[in-house]
Amino acid sequence: MRLFRGLNSAMHAAKHAACAVAALGVSSAVHAEGTVEVLHWWTSGGEAKAVGTLKDAFEAQGGTWVDSPIAGGGGDAAMTALRARVVAGNPPTAVQLKGPGIQEWAQQGALNDVQEVATAEHWDSVLPPALATIMKYDGNYVAAPVNIHRVDWLWANPEALAKAGVEDMPTTWEEFNAAADKLQAAGITPLGHGGQAWQDATLFEDVVLGVGGPDFYRKALVELDPEALASPTMVASFDQLRKLRGYVDPNFPGRDWNLATAMVMRGEAAFQIMGDWAKGEFLAAGKVPGEDFLCAPTPGNGFVLNSDSFTFFKVSGEDKLKGQQVLASLIMSPEFQKTFNLAKGSIPARTDVSLDDFDMCAQKSHEDLLKAVESDALVPSMAHEMAIPRSVRGEILDLVTEFFNSDMSSEDATERLSAAIMRAM
């Protein structure tokens, strides 16, 4: 801190002159229903519309919404700006933030809790426990989830499958491999895939779930248990990932996920393993679920959970605090959860919202979610920053993507996985 203190005194004189300039930009009007400045990375297309529904609902209650959209790198740019804002002593009121990222900021003492609202509205009884844990710090809610995305989806083009004589969606990796071999023989790329680290990691975690089951997944990718990480099951998972690598066309590196989805749409590729946002691409192209494309969970009888949420930063002033309470309550209201998720293509984070207006894939997702909660098979996604600290996740992603793009053996990969995780701990 010494250096900063030096800076501080040096700048003190200049500060007063500059204050006048800053004051111009700040609105001093106080609104009865609160003001929120929301930093988020849903900036374009359907995602922007989804946030728009939140803004509209907030303003309908008489509040003022200040929008701070920053897209890029799945939130990386927004996180950069967030740090600059917090360091400058000017944090946004609410920030789109997820998974252990919430805990990181809470540990810095940067968050306000909204436990009052949560208690009054019984959040504990309507959220899946695995998700509720992530939203809390020290037993208090510091974040409110807007949706649930399922990561372990298998998308398919039924025509392509028929052409190769594949009749059913595979339910085990053996069945998948058999189907893929048939497809390959028929000259169809079995798996449409984009070679970006997070996409490779998506395949990896879905494979781990399928090969090892939910308990193994949790041990290895959530608890980072050294034994599980070094186990033969992990080697077997890498073996299956290597298999998948063989089912991908040679031009996959760097491809965006939506272009892989387009390959499935056109029948160039038969399957894609991707979260349920891929559905948005199909729907936008006018495809009908169940007819033009199929959705089924990847093998493994689990549910890989990804959820977006808003976190409340430490701000002062009646107006802003009120805004946080109102926003928290609004996000968790059943009506909002429904409108938002219809626009976003995900399913409500609340388990008690009816899914009658949703498409069949979303309904399936909801059904499986309830089942998974029951049988304790709901696991947080490692690839999508729900499970482990970002530092550890980064190391795993580096290793998985290197494995996928080289001829590293499964044994080496398993060994290096443990080493990489040790480094980041």
Partner: protein, 297 residues
Amino acid sequence: MRQRRTSGIVQPKGLRSVLMRMGLFAVLGLFCLYYLLPLVVMVSTSLKSLAEIREGTLLSLPQAITFDAWAKAWDSACVGVRCDGLKPFMWNSIAMAVPAVILSTTLGAINGYALTKWRFPGADWIFALILFGAFIPFQVVLLPMARTLGQLGLAGTVPGLILVHTVYGLAFTTLFFRNFFVSVSDGILQAAKVDGAGFFGIFFRIVLPMSIPAIVVTVIWQFTQIWNDFLFGVAFTIGDSNPVTVALNNVVNTSTGVKEYNVDMAAAIIAALPTMLVYVVAGAYFVRGLSAGAVKG
């Protein structure tokens, strides 16, 4: 302004020179192709409908030309919850880039002039130290800078951003002018000094008018860097005061949404138009002889 165009260096000499000229144009043309190819793809994509992009190959020429994407990029694409396209953000960038370019260029010119034509002990050291600032990675100065701006009360404001760009532009502007002045001979300046002209007198009346080539390359550089900056823009402005690069990024980037490549391309070209305008205008001063006469001494 004098535009004394003296003859080129290769003197025409019959058939051989005709052949050389053809070769010259062939090389220039080939490079034009290299530079233009991506632009052709961008323009062609921007004129397609989204359905055509999804169905066809990405690089084919448009079958039915539509300007919808351009209209959308300009004033109806969503940038967060606000769907007014890039239009509102262009002004933010201009309000930031123009003062920052003028400030950093002027300061750089004075700096370069003082460091070469009024040399004092340690001038080279100072130059070298200022120059090294060109290499500081912006990713790491972000946080201390944010802290500084917060202390100054300039966090999240346009003046704050102008300060940042001026400070980190100084290394380059000083470099350009210093290296230009170094090759200008001291004769005229000595004469002016003898005549009693002072530091600023010589600067404004003699040095500035002959440094047009240096001003041109400096302005081109600074304008490009400042206009295209994303990192500082994203970290040091808030929402509605974002520069156009942040807005462009918001239009283009979607994590889990549908990608509209045609709008992306149109938006990128629109965001680049002011910079290209600077190139065209500034480029008009790339003329031989502007500084001739002044250089010798």
